[in-house]
Symmetry: C2
Subunit: 108 residues, 2 copies
Amino acid sequence: MVEQRLDATFAALADPTRRGMLASLAKGEASVGELAAPYAMSLAGASKHLGVLERAGLVERRRVGRQHLCRLKAERLAEADRWLKQWERFWTASLDRLEVLLAEEKIT
Amino acid sequence: MVEQRLDATFAALADPTRRGMLASLAKGEASVGELAAPYAMSLAGASKHLGVLERAGLVERRRVGRQHLCRLKAERLAEADRWLKQWERFWTASLDRLEVLLAEEKIT
DNA sequence: TCGTTGTTCAACCATATGGTTGAATATGGC
DNA sequence: GCCATATTCAACCATATGGTTGAACAACGA
């Protein structure tokens, strides 16, 4: 279900290392070693983070020679974005004020 | 920093109970008891979830009589949304194809 | 075939998370 | 003042998470 996918997606995004790896992948495919390089962390640790991203469906890994190349998969990000859009009206300036008033005055 | 706020925001969103509570709050202010009602969970448990949402800045609590009323705060949701927008081009149909090709062909 | 490179696996550790229960606190009504 | 209501606090438990290390595996180069 979408609910469980959102659990995994948001959990995967709740870590700066993983968000950074996604940012790297936005520039194109990269190997595990390349993705791990910026972080003061063992390769095994970085590989685990990629595992989280992969299980959440945010990244695809394929083997090329002895490298494992990773590629961004955007569909789940789109799904998370659609979920967040539900609240767009709350942060849209003019409507935000209105919603606050609605909440306060209990006008339904 | 925005990075740490994103950690807290995405972590808070990575739980179906908390997302459900936010959905309830979209309809207006509600007490802890009201927010807890739909869930097969102790009140203390629900209160902890609200604590997570509050520390993440997604919810504001104020005391009214013996009730603690909660209200949605949308700014952090907007921040998360802006972050996700970075990848919009990857899931936009026509550009998605292009990006995949760019990644595969290593055209920079 | 042997060593090197790239990556994963397995075991382990510390801390965080999601939940419980029972007691404590604060407010309102009688 | 006393009892009921609304909520939090504190202690506890099981499991998940983020990290480590050392060994294993797979592929390339000589």
